[in-house]
Symmetry: C2
Subunit: 323 residues, 2 copies
């Protein structure tokens, strides 16, 4: 616990999956809040949260959780945010900040804002971080370190409340950026929603072939398929809601993607090696940028921990080919 | 060095990139061969191979490399295999085994076999293993451990020669499977070639948007895009050749994939949450299978090494959602 005074006295977490439980662990580790009250819809999750000691108090309803809380973070699939906002509205303390962690922001603002009283500060948020696991056991305090948390406060929202929530996210390790909900949804459609949809698609395609058995698909997955299965193992409820809630932006990105698939398909059909080489060289630069800004590790991924590998010095990335 | 006698007296490596240099390191670590002679087309690579001490001898030409070798492994992009076979043919020792590591087998057999003398054993191979890095610095001895190496010997090939090469791959850590070249190309089209093509496509799509900046794409890549960039950072020459050489199987898999993209797109457009949920649940099972057979680590991936994370016990995979 930090020796500094906590930013908020009482944090209410509604939903304690990968993200909610990581917030609980990180907030406690950094002394960011005085106490934590948590709730979850299912009894099994509430029981597990209590067993793990993730909160000072575990209660049965969202309405009970928000009583007396000065920070409320809704950590549930985006499709459930509207009903929860309606449920908690009469119980919110005046001056409280209400936030969320949803991967879509336009729909969350539309669904939650109408229910919330004018006496609270509504500051939607999206920490762009995660793993392929779900549930309260899957969280860890370091999840948000050097990841970006995007805030999408409605116009005219109290600046001090927004700044305080930004300080909370920074305290638990995140970088903070503010943008309009619609722009957020367009950016995430390409950096997150489209990749997930494509990964879900390709894993399904592989599983339905008659000419290649499932056993073959699994055994020879190290050729690239493996990495898609990781993404396609993400929480189905969360992702169903994302695609329903961000339909327009996802469909637009799908359209662009389909055009590009067609172009590369044509290059393969025509045997146009130059076009393929040019495209494959260009995409390498993007990877380099992501590693340079610390959003991925330069350590080579080969599908298992590398106890025998020196982590430093790293292999010279993008060295000349060995031919 | 093992105390047992080496399987082969002299290994000639033609091409010393990620795969070739990993074979050199592994073969030496396991005492699989008496000595290693290596060559590479570029002078810079030959110089680097000598500096790294990967071979007992580095020579300037493929023809010189194969002199007196009882095992020759060609580790170059598949498009270059035919000309190299032609170059080495007159210099091969009678009784030598000639192999390769190409990701396409039908074309390699067609391109190499006609040049090779009847006095050698031709046993094409494909170790399904790799990282996103290229070049002699990128290899390591453990790359093939618990990965599959697929052998595609022509019908009627000497059984003892095939078994000996299988023993070589097992000695350096791989599991070995034998299949027909065409079936190999179909299996790899789905487990490797299609995933790479899609990853290359989506990274290109993201880079060409006017509405989302490259800086935004990089910053918010932790939402899933990041993993595609890793695959799309693979060696452009190698992948150009793969798509040209395995055109028919790749186009067939692309056709299946496009049908499935259309179906999911329609589900999103119609707001069919049940169809999405059902699909996303099904794909999770495939991931589970891959982790169970040890082809990927169950450790959560969040884009950097996890020094602060307990590696054991692992988070309960696929736990109930936290809502």
């Amino acid at each position: 616990m930090s020796s500094k005074a906590p930013l908020y006295n009482r944090l209410a977490l509604i939903g304690v999956g990968l993200i909610g439980s990581s917030i609980a662990r990180a907030a406690r580790a950094q002394g960011a809040v005085g106490s934590i009250v948590a709730t979850a819809r299912s009894e099994a999750t509430r029981k597990r949260v209590a067993e793990l000691g993730l909160a000072d108090q575990v209660v049965e309803t969202a309405a009970a959780a928000v009583e007396g809380a000065d920070l409320v973070i809704v950590c549930i699939p985006v499709g459930a945010c509207g009903p929860v906002a309606k449920e908690i509205a009469p119980h919110l303390a005046p001056g409280a900040t209400v936030s969320d962690v949803g991967s879509v922001k336009g729909s969350v603002v539309r669904d939650m804002a109408p229910h919330l009283p004018k006496t609270v500060h509504f500051v939607p948020a999206h920490p762009v971080a995660g793993t392929e696991y779900s549930g309260p056991d899957a969280g860890f305090a370091e999840l948000f370190v050097n990841r970006w948390c995007i805030l999408t406060p409605p116009e005219g929202q109290d600046t001090a409340a927004v700044e305080k929530l930004a300080a909370f996210w920074r305290l638990i390790g995140a970088n903070v950026e503010t943008m309009a909900p619609d722009h957020h949804d367009l950016v995430l459609a390409v950096t997150s929603h489209l990749p997930h949809l494509i990964a879900y698609t390709i894993v399904g395609t592989a599983d339905e072939l008659e000419s290649v058995t499932r056993s073959e698909v699994l055994k020879f997955s190290a050729g690239g398929f493996r990495d898609f299965t990781r993404i396609a193992a993400s929480d189905p409820t969360m992702w169903r809601d994302v695609f329903l809630a961000n339909k327009d932006a996802v469909l637009e990105m799908l359209g662009r993607f389909n055009e590009d698939v067609s172009a590369l398909t044509k290059a393969i059909r025509k045997g146009d090696g130059d076009a393929l080489f040019e495209h494959f060289t260009r995409t390498r630069a993007i990877r380099k940028g992501i590693v340079q800004i610390g959003q991925d590790s330069p350590v080579p991924d080969f599908g298992r921990p590398h106890p025998d590998l020196p982590q430093e010095p790293l292999p010279k990335p993008y060295a000349a080919d060995g031919d």
